[in-house]
Assembly symmetry: C2
């Protein structure tokens, strides 16, 4: 039978109210009494009822993480970074997979509110108005990770997707390539991948290369999507470089090229984006833009815990550094 607060009070020879004051760190208990209570707690192995305390303090030390899909190649490392920081500060995380389904996102937000989470770390391709309104209505402290809202009304941590894609494309151009393809999504909003598409076009224009629609193939986000999208444009063009909006897409693209007998990087340079774990196991090892995924999760969680505890944030919007990783899918 677990010890109760009454047992602790009896053991320490004080009132239940005094034990409660020690537990809640209210500073009116003298040191000697406090010590007696702490000794009794230790001796009896007493654990306060966190749920009961949550009702009183309106804090649960629990944080919701809303992501599209933990089984994708991208989110596990972000979640790991977030959970490690949560653990350091004695928070736990409730994980919610939404598949980008807005109904599911809203349902999760409501449940998280009911379960009195202290805050939410929110990841999605984009932040729709219905979601913004709901977060405001529910009054849950929220930090966006790898997601922004156009009005920048929520604190966020991201990378500069446009600039990174610009640099990746420029890298291909500086290798002497002139017919540079784009394979990736085109969503017409503020999504990360749309910004990458914009960065690709910006580099071409600045370097006086034409944005040639026959070199652009829009795709989904999986390797098989990259494979299928590449198949559509490879035969009718003289592509010499390919910027892919993600590593998974790049792997699908390279597999298509291999099946067509085209060598990477001897015949075509390919660059990816993300630096997911398997990009350095794939053959050829992918040249790519590294996003600090673990850091995005950990910085986002740190910001959120600061907000929950009413500590000042250094900045409202953190833009973490990306890095071009040279491996074997582009010529040396």
């Amino acid at each position: 039978m677990a010890a109760s607060i009454k047992d602790v009070a009896k053991e320490a020879g004080v009132s239940i109210a005094t034990v409660s004051r020690v537990l809640n760190d209210i500073d009116v208990v003298n040191e000697e009494t406090k010590e007696k209570v702490l000794v009794a707690i230790k001796k009896l192995g007493y654990r306060p009822n966190i749920v009961a305390r949550s009702l009183k303090t309106q804090k649960t030390s629990t944080i919701g993480i809303i992501i599209p899909d933990i089984s994708s190649q991208f989110y596990p490392e972000i979640v790991r970074g977030a959970e490690d920081v949560a653990n350091i500060y004695d928070y736990n995380i409730i994980l919610c997979n939404t598949d980008l389904d807005i109904e599911k996102e809203m349902e999760y937000l409501k449940v998280l509110k009911e379960k009195m989470v202290d805050g939410v770390l929110y990841m999605s391709n984009s932040l729709q108005k219905d979601i913004i309104d709901l977060i405001r209505e529910l009054e849950i402290p929220t930090v966006l990770t790898e997601t922004i809202d156009e009005e920048k009304s929520f604190p966020s941590v991201t990378v500069d997707n446009l600039k990174a894609a610009y640099e990746a494309t420029k890298y291909l151009i500086e290798k002497g390539n002139k017919k540079i393809a784009y394979v990736g999504p085109n969503d017409n909003n503020v999504n990360a991948t749309s910004l990458r598409y914009k960065g690709y076009k910006k580099a071409l224009l600045e370097m006086n290369l034409e944005v040639d629609q026959s070199l652009i193939s829009f795709s989904g986000i999986k390797a098989k999507d990259g494979y299928a999208a590449m198949e559509k444009v490879i035969d009718n063009s003289s592509i010499d470089g390919i910027f892919c909006a993600s590593d998974e897409i790049a792997m699908g693209v390279i597999n298509l090229l291999r099946d067509k007998g085209i060598r990477v990087p001897e015949d075509i340079d390919v660059i990816g984006f993300d630096n997911i774990y398997s990009s350095s196991i794939f053959y050829p090892k992918l040249t790519t833009i590294s996003q600090p995924m673990y850091d995005m999760g950990s910085v986002g969680m740190r910001m959120l815990i600061k907000i929950i505890n009413k500590q000042p944030l250094g900045k409202e919007h953190y833009v973490l550094n990306h890095k071009l990783i040279e491996r074997d899918s582009c010529k040396k």
Copy 2:
């Protein structure tokens, strides 16, 4: 301002106690009154305080998932399967990464108990006595996933690792290979990978092949570990087939062979284990043993929810089907 239970009582023209009885589904309220209360709840958008109710019912509709590392290639899909089932039955999951650190596992179990989770889905390489004792002491309903305890005292869902590894090795032998290497961990206990090592040896002995220590290279679980372990044995032997205890190890092994100018499958057949997502994107596409990872998570969660709700389990120990997937890393 959110509606309170008092507002609902006023709106419905009944007492707070009556509203409470309706909310807690206590069957002494007549249908007409119940209807009035439900209409008032809907009209005011009232949401009961789940945390307060949890204290009363001793249920939180929250389940802890304890895993080694969500950022590995293996666990995300299991967690996804588990969360999808949890979501169907209106449970949420608290995710805990332990890195197989027993202190961290024990700390998480205690915190989960304090947060009054209704149950725990536990995944680890092995189940140590200290953890078994703690789970018993804390009296948390627990289901083991891809983990067993030697005494089979907890319900579990696994695959038959020994049999699957036996079949994989036999497949290599039936291709005409005679010098079959093993690359993988050897932990000397009931871990999944140890059972795979046993299955490898069993197949050799049954097919009258010698268990040759010069063909066996113990490794960690990452691709780089497979690469390094293969490097140790490749030069002094005439290996023609390799059974790897995981796909990631197999990818490292194949990368080493490629760097040595050895072709897969023309010179050596390689078979992996797990069928992780990237095994069909890798070049060559891996022949492997498929574990139903999503199903392991979803079946484990379904079992746990049945236990929590005191429903009968069909079986205490589910052994899910594995499957040999023929792709391109073994000769046709």
